[in-house]
Subunit: 411 residues, 2 copies
């Protein structure tokens, strides 16, 4: 058995992923850009607003005409016009004049402030009393005050939220360059593995990995490409790998759980022309038998066959890698929200392996969280379902005592 | 002006949303079920595993044959067979016997434990020395230990993660009933509003809301249905509403920012047959001019025309409502991750309005966060782009002092 020739640490594994180039970009319409990462800096093509606008309903005035105005001694102005929505005012406000203006209306020339309708009182047919003194620019959004022509609006790498999309729309930007979604070929191997549509014969098991890993890939913005299950045959595995490399950006093999299948995967991957095996074994539990290879700039992941191990390894390495390919910084996963919690039961761990312990979170009396390690053997999928998060026990640590504060990553 | 006849609090608004029924369910394949909410309880149709399996590579044995074994005095057993992956062992392990077994292999009858290969030593052609004593079930996943037939596996309302999908796949469950995605008709109104594909004429502005609200709807699992922009005409607005109600589950109007458009929207919505106006005005800033109506069990939201106000109102009410329709509990938004931060600058707020203040988060020296209120007038879209989160200032509070601890909702 050529097992664990290159067992490396999780940090080394992550570092080796950084050799792969990011994906190219594509232009998508603004409505398809949600949650994608920008592949270019976007600069404002014009001012926003293009001209001063009112932020309230009221009267556009010259601020100096209101100096000293109060409830007792209001300023009396002549109402000369009304600003219409959808039209640029074609009149000028001179000393002693005002114009009705709705929220969002463009300011007429000459006016430099807007008094809210609440502080006014109509007088006769064409007069209005102003009961408050205004500083210039009061209730006005100046030309270019939101965004100025040439200003950087959204930077490369930024994940587009509805807010960025709204601002880009307001600037008339209809499409943007974003990083392409990674296509991931998902190939399950092992003589004992059958598709979930089939009824397993005695000794066979269903292919859970194809579905759980595909869901993770989708959650990370990737496109999962499904392949037929490959039996333990070097020729068939080689053919599937060639197919996967041709159709996708990354191949994620999930090796059968047996040593035989794992050896076969290593042999076939290592035998590909132009391939370099970057890792064969990583010092984590679960998930030690993980393979990483570089085939001319394309990554091949050999995930463990165990469904739980495959999920953990995918969370720790594959998902962050897919995010990295789309422009994110490369990090070690899992990537969820991190929070502090009090550990309810001591965790024992092996020195020399970084351990990923599943925990259930509970609200604690003090407003914080309590983390309960999930019981059950490591290989049980139900332990993942019962878990809200993961506690990482570092390689050099033997365990964590009950009552200690731990960092939990939500999964 | 019939403004704010029914100004209500945010809690009242949320409570009124609870009168609407949840959406119906649909069956989807497991691969389409990621991030959907289950509309049924799922019960295990069989045991997982269906029969005891080994969790390591080694030898299947009778535990009692290893009692007292040690490096110094190993137990010597006869290797009678090897378990093959993909086949059910057709032999029996009797006293004094062992069988080679790979990780994941099904245990032969008679065996009740597996010794790891590391603690064994082959002897002659058919013998193996066992250097460790084993308790029954060591390195064995028992029949039904992961999940037992008839056990509840995933409950109604649960959002399906890759872990649940993996477990369902392992149980051979190919499709599941999930809540339908809400279809949201997005209708922008206002004489001054033009599609972003067009060049605005003087006095016109681009329709940012259609795109930002559509992105929020998508983020909440809904389907946004775009409609042409409706000018300030009762007849055209009525026609668009009828279309929206026919094609969607919810209508989200975004009213022009002017009082005229808002009055028109209220008049047309209130005039629909069988309609009940549930709210016209909500005590929040920004976002006060918000309309909610119930048209025979279908919700009509009248969002403010201001892009920032529309985004805030959608975060506070529309998005939680879309989640609720899909089986989540109804909550007041924004729904993001909540964290504590030290406020860097005092916030002033109006008594009588719940205020949603945009903040930028910064890592603080003590490992916590610092929240900086985002500068700029409330109507500026760039303030949303610069914000990482929202601080909610309650209705009865005049402001929050610099240095206080605040709760920030990430957006």
């Amino acid at each position: 058995m050529a097992e664990f020739l290159h067992v490396i640490t999780t940090d080394q594994f992550t570092e080796r992923l950084s050799r792969f180039p990011r994906l190219s970009s594509e232009r998508v319409s603004l409505d398809d850009s949600w949650h994608r990462n920008l592949a270019e800096d976007v600069v404002a093509p014009e001012d926003l607003p293009v001209r001063a606008r009112s932020t309230v309903d009221g009267y556009a005035v010259r601020a100096e005409d209101t100096f000293g105005a109060s409830d007792a001694i209001p300023a009396l102005l002549e109402v000369v016009a009304a600003v219409e929505m959808g039209a640029m005012p074609d009149f000028v406000i001179r000393a002693g004049q005002a114009a009705q203006i709705p929220t969002g209306g463009f300011l007429p020339e000459g006016a430099d402030a807007v008094v809210m309708v609440e502080y006014t009182n109509p007088v006769g047919g064409h007069g209005v009393e102003i009961m408050r003194p205004l500083a210039a620019r009061t209730n006005v959004l100046e030309k270019g005050e939101d965004v100025r022509t040439g200003e950087g609006v959204v930077s490369v790498g930024r994940t587009l939220r509805p807010y960025e999309i709204g601002l880009l729309a307001a600037l008339g930007i209809k499409d943007v360059a974003v990083y392409r979604r990674p296509r991931v070929a998902i190939i399950s191997t092992g003589d004992e593995v059958v598709a979930i549509e089939r009824t397993p014969q005695p000794g066979q098991i269903r292919d859970a990995n194809a579905h759980s890993i595909a869901a993770l890939v989708r959650a990370a913005g990737g496109k999962a490409i499904g392949f037929d299950i490959v039996p333990d045959s070097a020729g068939k595995l080689r053919a599937a790998l060639d197919d996967g490399l041709a159709q996708a950006d990354i191949v994620a093999l999930s090796g059968g759980s047996s040593v035989g299948t794992r050896d076969l995967v290593l042999e076939v991957v290592a035998g590909l022309p132009g391939v370099e095996v970057l890792a064969h074994g990583v010092a984590i539990r679960p998930g030690k038998p993980t393979l990483l290879a570089d085939r001319k700039g394309m990554a091949i992941f050999g995930l463990p066959g165990h469904p739980v191990s495959a999920l953990i390894v995918a969370q720790v390495f594959l998902i962050p890698f897919l995010k990295y390919l789309q422009g994110d910084d490369l990090k070690k996963g899992p990537l969820g929200r991190r929070l502090k919690a009090v550990l309810s039961t001591s965790i024992h761990s092996s020195v020399g392996l970084e351990e990923f312990v599943r925990v259930r979170l509970e609200d604690a009396a003090d407003g914080g969280y309590c983390a309960h390690p999930v019981f059950g053997k490591s290989g049980m999928l139900s332990t993942m379902v019962r878990a809200d998060g993961i506690v990482v026990v570092p390689m050099r640590v033997e365990g964590i005592a009950k009552g200690e504060i731990v960092e939990v990553v939500e999964i």
